[in-house]
């Protein structure tokens, strides 16, 4: 059979196309296999995707949010540089300011009054060895943040104190976070128990750390 010039050109184009496709498939195969140490990794990745439940995550965050917005957490995550005080979150008397490291300035450093433990008596300074605000270059403001804004902030490595997922999970176990439930006489506790808070925090994170709409 006579091969027409047009037909021949078509075959060559097909061949080129096939070579390009093979090349792309090979290269992408090589590339992706480079990120995989073994096949079990691929399985783990699939499992993680299946585990994400955005509804459960958002649900858990809304519980977390109630705690973060309670005076016991928010008072030390103010929008300004002066901490808040009391169940009504008024500006801290004596107007102590954050300072570079979050530990106050000059004769007005947090630990001058806030001892390693709570002081005795009604409305006396609560205490913890780590008592401080977030530092000046990472203010981690809670005050005035909507649920969505706060969830996005906590999930943002650049705004959450450079914490990855494991460190975020760990953070709920931090002794200063825990101190929110050791509030001293004359102060309301956060709306969830510490145990319920940690469970909600973990559930939110383990289901993808999804921000509410």
């Amino acid at each position: 059979m006579e091969i027409k010039p047009g037909k021949k050109r078509l075959n060559i184009r097909h061949a080129k196309f096939a070579i390009i496709i093979i090349f792309i498939v090979t290269v992408s195969g090589l590339l992706t296999s480079g990120f995989r140490s073994n096949t079990s990794h691929e399985k783990a990745w699939v499992v993680e995707v299946n585990n994400k439940d955005s509804i459960a995550s958002v649900d858990a965050f809304m519980k977390v949010y109630q705690v973060l917005k309670s005076p016991r957490c928010m008072n030390c995550h103010p929008a300004g540089d002066i901490p808040l005080q009391g169940d009504d979150s008024h500006l801290h008397t004596m107007s102590p300011i954050r300072g570079k490291d979050g530990k106050g300035v000059y004769a007005m450093k947090c630990s001058n009054c806030h001892q390693p433990n709570n002081s005795a008596g009604l409305n006396t300074p609560p205490g913890n060895p780590k008592w401080a605000l977030p530092p000046e270059d990472m203010k981690m403001v809670f005050e005035g943040k909507s649920p969505r804004e706060l969830a996005l902030q906590i999930m943002d490595y650049k705004r959450n104190g450079h914490k990855n997922k494991a460190q975020l999970l760990e953070h709920a176990r931090d002794t200063l976070v825990k101190a929110g439930w050791n509030m001293g006489a004359g102060r309301k506790p956060p709306p969830l128990s510490y145990k319920e808070f940690v469970a909600a925090w973990d559930k939110w994170n383990n289901n993808g750390g999804v921000a509410p709409k």
Partner: protein, 154 residues
């Protein structure tokens, strides 16, 4: 037994570790320059230096001071000649005097960390020291004068 250093002297005290440092200073050691105002960290009358920081001795338990260095108004200078003490005398800052030991101890931390404080710096440092006689303006002036003396080495 609790060991600590107060005004460069070593002490060993057989005492309840929850005793406030202020009680130890005034009632046990007999250093009564530091005053009791409120007892709940609200007034600043009881400020002393714990390793150089202006802690409120009424809420600081003696256990926190164990093995540490405490300086009270009596130990701020050898001959009552800290620039703040000289400036205080020169400008006659004191009215009744009750708050003044705490005022000077707080101001001393400011001057150590900031050799040339502005009015704003002074306000930030001194907000926690209350003076019922209202000597605030003279205190501010005296801190400026003391800073100047300190810079001039006098």
């Amino acid at each position: 037994m609790i060991k600590l250093n107060i005004n460069n002297k070593n002490y060993e005290l057989d005492i309840d570790p929850d005793t406030p440092l202020l009680w130890v200073l005034r009632d046990i050691i007999g250093l009564v320059g530091t005053k009791y105002g409120c007892g709940v960290a609200q007034c600043g009358a009881c400020v002393v230096h714990l390793n150089g920081e202006a802690v409120r001795s009424c809420v600081t338990k003696i256990s926190r001071a164990a093995g540490q260095n405490v300086i009270t108004i009596e130990g701020l200078s050898e001959n009552n000649d800290h620039p703040l003490q000289k400036a205080w005398v020169e400008l006659d800052v004191v009215q009744c005097g009750y708050c003044q030991a705490g005022q000077i101890m707080s101001a001393a931390v400011l001057l150590r960390e900031n050799k040339n404080p502005t009015d704003k710096d002074i306000e930030l440092a001194m907000e926690g020291n209350i003076c019922r006689c209202g000597t605030y303006l003279r205190i501010k002036k005296a801190i400026h004068l003391a800073a100047e003396m300190q810079r001039n080495g006098s």
